[in-house]
């Protein structure tokens, strides 16, 4: 130990406790390959690397975001998982002990971001899709049209019949919005993410003819040209919620809850409230942007009904008004109340849903998996004769086209995605968004980092990703012998459960593998 270290130790007698919070990752630099260009030092926004006279030195705090790996011109860097071991213990895991150590040091509420990384297991991975054989022929989507067009809004309409019983016309009697695929980009606010990121997401939504959520930060005036692809969120902080905003967007959504933090408000730290964010949220520079835990005008279903009606009045009944709720234990009854309160669509957010910042204790321990929530809500609304009134949007850990297909079969009309769009733009799910220094320029407001994401490239990548998912959806629909995605909605008979807990299958209304039709 050097003399410097010893002095530091005397000055900070608690450092020995903190030091047992292990470094989990470390960049390993091949000194033979390294050309000493120092690029990695610049790229690492977490301050993990520095230039020492004779080379690159690792200072600590690597979050394995892969930025240095991806930008090193000679591929000299690997991120290695450190071998340091805690004495093994199955209940006092490393995670548990690290959390205790951190809080004994800070006395603070632990924060994290992204969806929970707890190893709960994905029910999606325990569900298997059906395919058509002999008795119901499959369809070749390359030769035949497989319809993926999807509508968001209240499902009411009028059909006119001729005197001899033929349909002569049909029209929707409530506002609906059409999308080219049963997928939307979820709510990610300007503030949580950078200007370039939101621009890329909105451009992708436009390219794909789908909707994207505004998040709770309002809509920056530069993004008005995308308004017809935007669901404008009305969250408890009411940031950016103006008459103009409401009347411009394609749909309006009241955010009651978020899957990653059900029941918890929002907290955008003052560091992220830059000039851009302060002007779009209409709050002073550098103050915390706080969203109250509940909406203080909604303490009941009756109050919710009132805000829904106020929004419909304010938009002259021209756009669908929906409600986003976090999936919680009583979600079936809550959803039923929300429909009765007049919502035109419901967005369900499962407990693995992403977040730019959430208390760990909530992110990791509260809520309901989206698979179960979707099935339960679909069943409940169907039983009460309400399901056909609304569009059901489900999100929170839809990772692939397979998840999208499964959530639709479980009962959703639309799958909502966020994390996959960010991964398409470089995100490595390092769970550090709340620190505001995302090395990929996504969840940050620091100008030098924001400029790392080229919005045009980002938009193109997101567009390609979901175009591919929609093609895969067509493949699967064809294989099932279904020619329109609408016929898959809530079609749980095309799923089988192949997991460890048949009770889950029973709750979802899904048969076990091996059980046939009927």
């Amino acid at each position: 130990m050097s003399e410097g270290d010893q002095t530091a130790k005397r000055k900070d007698p608690e450092s020995i406790y903190r030091n047992v919070i292990h470094e989990k990752f470390k960049p390993s630099i091949d000194r033979n390959l390294c050309i000493k260009c120092k690029r990695c030092v610049k790229e690492c926004s977490f301050g993990a690397l520095e230039w020492d006279d004779d080379g690159i030195r690792y200072k600590g705090n690597c979050v394995a975001c892969q930025r240095c790996v991806a930008t090193c011109p000679v591929k000299a860097i690997d991120i290695v998982h450190l071998p340091t071991q805690y004495p093994p213990h199955a209940s006092y895991t490393e995670r548990v002990r690290q959390a205790i150590t951190a809080q004994a040091t800070s006395g603070g509420v632990l924060l994290s971001s992204c969806g929970t990384d707890m190893p709960y297991g994905m029910i999606f991975d325990d569900l298997i899709l059906d395919s058509a054989q002999v008795t119901n022929p499959s369809i070749d989507p390359l030769r035949e049209e497989v319809e993926t067009r999807t509508y968001v809004g209240r499902r009411t309409g009028k059909i006119t019949l001729s005197s001899d019983g033929y349909i002569t016309g049909s029209e929707a009697t409530s506002p609906i919005v059409a999308m080219d695929m049963p997928l939307m980009i979820g709510h990610i606010s300007l503030g949580a993410v950078s200007y370039n990121t939101q621009l890329a997401l909105l451009q992708a939504a436009k390219n794909l003819h789908i909707l994207a959520g505004s998040g709770e930060g309002g809509l920056h005036s530069d993004f008005f040209p995308f308004a017809e692809n935007v669901i404008g969120e009305v969250a408890s902080g009411r940031f950016g919620v103006t008459a103009d905003y409401l009347q411009r967007t394609a749909a309006v959504e009241i955010k009651i809850g978020q899957g990653a933090k059900p029941g918890v408000g929002g907290h955008l730290p003052g560091e992220k409230v830059t000039e851009l964010i302060s002007s779009s949220r209409r709050i002073p520079l550098g103050t915390d942007a706080l969203s109250p835990y509940p909406h203080h005008d909604i303490y009941s279903i009756e109050d919710l009904q009132q805000l829904i009606a106020a929004l419909k009045e304010s938009t002259e009944h021209r756009v669908p008004v929906g409600v986003k709720i976090a999936a919680v234990h009583n979600v079936g009854a809550i959803a039923s109340g929300v429909v009765r309160a007049g919502a035109d669509f419901i967005t369900l957010d499962g407990f693995r849903g992403g977040t730019g910042s959430s208390p760990r204790v909530i992110r990791d321990h509260a809520g309901l998996p989206i698979e179960v929530a979707t099935a339960v809500v679909d069943k409940r609304l169907t039983a009460e004769g309400l399901r056909n009134r609304i569009t059901l949007i489900a999100g929170g850990s839809i990772r692939s086209s397979a998840d999208m297909i499964k959530v639709i079969a479980l009962g959703a009309d639309v799958a909502s995605v966020c994390t996959s769009a960010l991964i398409a733009m470089g995100c490595q799910v390092c769970q550090s968004c709340h620190r505001g220094v995302c090395a990929w320029g996504i969840t940050t407001q620091r100008p030098d980092l924001v400029s790392r994401l080229d919005p045009a490239i980002g938009a193109a990548r997101v567009t390609r990703l979901y175009t591919a998912w929609n093609e895969e959806l067509k493949e699967v629909l064809g294989a099932m012998g279904i020619d329109a995605v609408e016929s898959l909605v809530g079609n749980r008979d095309r799923l089988r459960y192949f997991g460890p807990n048949p009770k889950i299958a029973e709750v979802m209304g899904v048969k076990h593998v091996g059980e046939g039709w009927g």
Partner: protein, 239 residues
């Protein structure tokens, strides 16, 4: 709602003065109306969410208003000659709400300000609990008219989570009435100037006189614009 479509039609046709007589609890009147020079007079009792999302017009109520008057209003003016019940001026972002009588619980929750946009609420009588909770900007003034000496015109949990703006109360406010993050401070010259302007506006709106004894006013302001700094721990923890 039929009433609202009539109002909207009149606005669309360019009416600048609309008088609605015999109002009996109709909700959402004037919601999201935007014409700056529009004046709407309401005789009777409008229902909840009067002037929600209002952005410019003036609404004057000759009677009592109910809950959520001026909900998430951006600019404009709402003048109530009677009382306005709970949640007046929720998330007010700009403009002004003047109430001649009293208001209920949760007044001015999460008001905010930006640049020159400084919303204000003036209540002539009293308010209930949770006044100015989560307040992020703007000004609330409670005049406490008719409240006996020694009694407080406001309730408990004043300014819980407040991180911007100020609340002024004429009359007694005790420390135990304050919520987390709020503190009592002295009036400065700036405050007196602001109060004088707000009171003058109130006097003109209702044709009344309000005594200006500044020693009777209490100012409540945030302890910090970042009330939760230090509350969180960002340590990276992995499986």
């Amino acid at each position: 709602m039929a009433l609202n479509s009539e109002v909207r039609k009149a606005i669309a046709e360019g009416s600048k003065r609309i008088i609605i007589d015999g109002v009996m609890g109709q909700r959402y009147i004037g919601s999201a109306a935007k014409a700056k020079d529009l004046y709407v007079a309401i005789k009777g009792t409008p229902g909840n969410d009067l002037g929600a999302f209002l952005d410019g017009p003036t609404i004057e109520v000759f009677g009592n208003a109910q809950d959520m008057t001026g909900n998430t209003m951006s600019s404009g003016r709402i003048v109530v000659h009677g009382n306005a019940w709970d949640v007046t001026g929720l998330s007010l972002r700009g403009g002004r709400i003047l109430v001649r009588g009293s208001s209920g619980f949760r007044v001015g929750i999460h008001m905010k300000e930006f640049g020159k946009e400084r919303p204000a609420i003036v209540i002539g009588g009293t308010t209930g609990d949770y006044l100015g909770e989560y307040m992020a900007g703007g000004n609330i003034l409670v005049l406490g008219e008719g409240v006996p000496e020694g009694e407080s015109p406001v309730g408990s949990f004043i300014g819980t989570g407040i991180h911007g703006g100020s609340i002024y109360v004429r009359g007694k406010v005790e420390k135990h009435q304050l919520g987390m993050g709020a503190s009592i401070s002295d009036l400065g010259a700036e405050d007196v100037k602001l109060l004088d302007e707000l009171i003058t506006d109130f006097e003109n709106a209702f044709n009344v006189k309000v005594e200006r004894d500044w020693s009777k006013f209490t100012k409540i302001k945030p302890l910090s614009s970042r009330p939760f700094t230090g509350r969180f721990d960002s340590t990276a923890i992995w499986n």
